[in-house]
Point group: C2
Chain length 218, copies 2
């Protein structure tokens, strides 16, 4: 896989040593998360909205209601900026300003293209369900024609993207380590808990392993 080429918009400016254009790294961050924040301009003002996405090969799909302002903006071809952030830990330093967070974040700049046609939308909906819970699609009622009509799906080619990553401990000077305080990292993790059955559901069906032991690719 060839890496991304930094552009004026995706080049990491602050702390460039944390920047990466490595396609494998960028895709791994995208695949571990599935919530992004998308910034766009509405009536001349910046707006940011959290939403779900799915990565399929070298593109992202985003979906939403036909009535959604975000989806209408994306479908119009307006430029947007998408960010995914995984918080990995809290860095405890000997000095106040040495404190930091470990994270992996990705930014994608792009323009979206609406997905037209029932078959293509259906395939994207399958991708959405499978991206969030692998093996789920074959067990659920597929979308009706009307559900597909009411859903907008857009495709975002992954062309301009970069990652920014901080790992490890504090970077204080040696003399700061004489401060009598604990130093290190508190790892943070986003994880699933025991599934809670829907009271309207069939209580004789136990949660399958993909739900009982839900995890994201890491």
């Amino acid at each position: 896989m060839s890496n991304f080429t930094p552009t004026e918009r995706t080049r990491v400016r602050r702390k460039p040593e944390r920047g990466s254009y490595d396609r494998e790294l960028i895709y791994s961050v995208l695949d571990e998360a599935f919530v992004c924040h998308i910034a766009f301009i509405a009536d001349g003002m910046p707006v940011v909205v959290p939403t779900n996405y799915v990565r399929v090969g070298d593109k992202l799909f985003l979906h939403g209601s036909m009535a959604s302002r975000l989806m209408k903006t994306l479908a119009s071809g307006a430029p947007f900026c998408l960010s995914v952030t995984l918080l990995d830990g809290i860095v405890c330093a000997p000095s106040a300003t040495g404190h930091s967070v470990n994270y992996r974040s990705v930014v994608v700049m792009g323009k979206a293209v609406p997905i037209e046609g029932e078959a293509a939308k259906l395939a994207a909906m399958r991708d959405f369900v499978e991206y969030v819970i692998r093996g789920r699609w074959s067990t659920v009622r597929p979308p009706t024609e009307q559900e597909l009509k009411g859903t907008m799906v857009v495709s975002v080619p992954l062309v301009e993207a970069s990652a920014k990553v901080r790992t490890g401990f504090a970077v204080n000077d040696d003399e700061d380590y004489a401060t009598p305080t604990w130093t290190g990292v508190i790892p943070m993790k986003w994880s699933s808990q025991a599934p809670v059955p829907d009271p309207r559901g069939n209580s004789s069906i136990a949660p399958p392993p993909n739900i009982q032991h839900y995890s994201r690719p890491q």
Copy 2:
């Protein structure tokens, strides 16, 4: 505490039944997280950047390097939009399109005001450290004059803010529940793991309870 008044920019448009302007709810979401995504306009294009914040009373503080584009943009008084999202669960529905996520998100629209003066900056730095790890400030080396000079802190009055919350199970029609699949919610939680000591640190100092059993206010 009086609630927020919805404005043209903060009124929840899509699924307005999920919208809230309740100050207590909005503050609880802000306090549980400490990473936000800030959208602003740079060279006519939307940009979104993840960063840390601290809430103190009816305002947020944001901080960063004097050289940061985000901080320079905020300090200039440019309008921005800030979002905080807590993902609480994955909603497994009987139908593909019935799947959803449970979340609590907050959006803040505003303009920032730079914090000037060493004493005010020092107080804000204390708030930052204490917001992330309560009880930490008194154990670390305080910022030097030079560190304070190199840090920009801005204050954001919490005037325009709203929350959007989804809780509970799928909302499919009864007939969909005949689909032979498990339905319910996979709760998701962002939590701390066992602290990892810094090899440069003093190994005779054990992690104190605020680090050993790190948690956010909930």
